[in-house]
């Protein structure tokens, strides 16, 4: 599994594989959107506003997962000095950043009809906004610090500090009284939502994971090529 992330393995992935994934993504997204916008039933309390869940929940999950990977990669990078870890983490950061922004914006669109307000400084919403700030700080570090070693060190520290925010986001709805509802899907217990809503949610999840994989492969390949070119220039 670990070996699959080695630069040589990633560089051997052809553009045909990526194009195949794009076709699969289009099929899954079309099915997912049809289900979530037209076929799934409205909620008996929230009505049709519940449809926002089909983009809000998967994007929040991916935003959190990406930062989890970035944090772990940063630890591996600082402690074990694994060379490709910073490139891997760097490739994941724009995906997580876009999905955390989507999560916040779609959450606002869901919050207005449900709570009567676009934004509230609630524990879940605030911790999610902090996650977005961590992503922005991480991306800006790589963008504005030209020295690779320096950028690598600073971004790894950001990645590790940001890791502490993840359990806060996850358990904020349990630790504090928040407007945000508790999780409907957990790893330890059966989902509390009806299967007619669970099916489109899973399809949208699957679609967003394929999308993230496509972006990750392209970005990781780009980063490896950039790294190799810079190395070549340096040796000249």
């Amino acid at each position: 599994m670990f070996k699959n992330f080695f630069p040589s393995k990633i560089l051997s992935i052809t553009n045909n594989t990526i194009n195949g994934l794009v076709i699969l993504l289009v099929v899954v997204v079309v099915i997912g959107l049809t289900y979530s916008l037209f076929l799934s039933p409205p909620d008996y309390i929230q009505g049709d506003s519940v449809r926002i869940m089909y983009v809000h929940v998967p994007s929040s999950f991916i935003a959190l997962s990406c930062f989890g990977f970035i944090g772990i990669a940063s630890i591996c990078n600082l402690i074990f000095k694994i060379k490709f870890m910073p490139l891997l983490a760097k490739s994941l950061s724009p995906i997580g950043c876009v999905f955390s922004l989507i999560s916040i914006v779609t959450g606002s669109f869901w919050g207005k009809p449900t709570w009567g307000i676009w934004w509230v400084w609630d524990a879940r919403l605030t911790s999610m906004a902090i996650l977005l700030l961590f992503y922005i700080a991480y991306i800006l570090t790589w963008k504005f610090i030209n020295n690779f070693e320096k950028a690598n060190k600073i971004s790894s520290i950001i990645g590790i500090i940001g890791l502490f925010n993840l359990p806060v986001i996850k358990y904020s709805v349990d630790w504090w009284n928040t407007l945000h509802q508790p999780s409907s899907i957990t790893l330890t217990s059966a989902p509390t939502i009806h299967y007619t809503m669970l099916v489109p949610l899973i399809i949208m999840f699957f679609g967003m994971i394929i999308y993230s994989l496509i972006i990750f492969l392209m970005r990781y390949k780009t980063e490896i090529m950039k790294f190799k070119l810079n190395k070549k220039k340096y040796h000249k």
Partner: protein
């Protein structure tokens, strides 16, 4: 028409979906553009090297064949 109004929630549901699709599409286009640009530079720099490497390997094969 009812599908677009969504019982009065259409004004929240549609912008949420449109924002998601537009953001994802924007990131995809940006990533793809950068990827192709980098790939061109990379291939320009390294293809020659790879061809030379193959030529050297072939020469080695021929030489080892002669030795046998």
């Amino acid at each position: 028409m009812e599908l677009f109004i969504l019982d009065g929630y259409g004004q929240f549901v549609w912008p949420a979906f449109i924002f998601t699709i537009v953001s994802c599409f924007f990131l995809y286009l940006k990533t793809k553009k950068e990827f192709h640009k980098q790939e061109k530079i990379y291939l320009k720099e390294f293809k020659q090297l790879e061809t030379k490497k193959i030529e050297v390997d072939k020469k080695r094969e021929v030489l080892s064949g002669r030795l046998i």
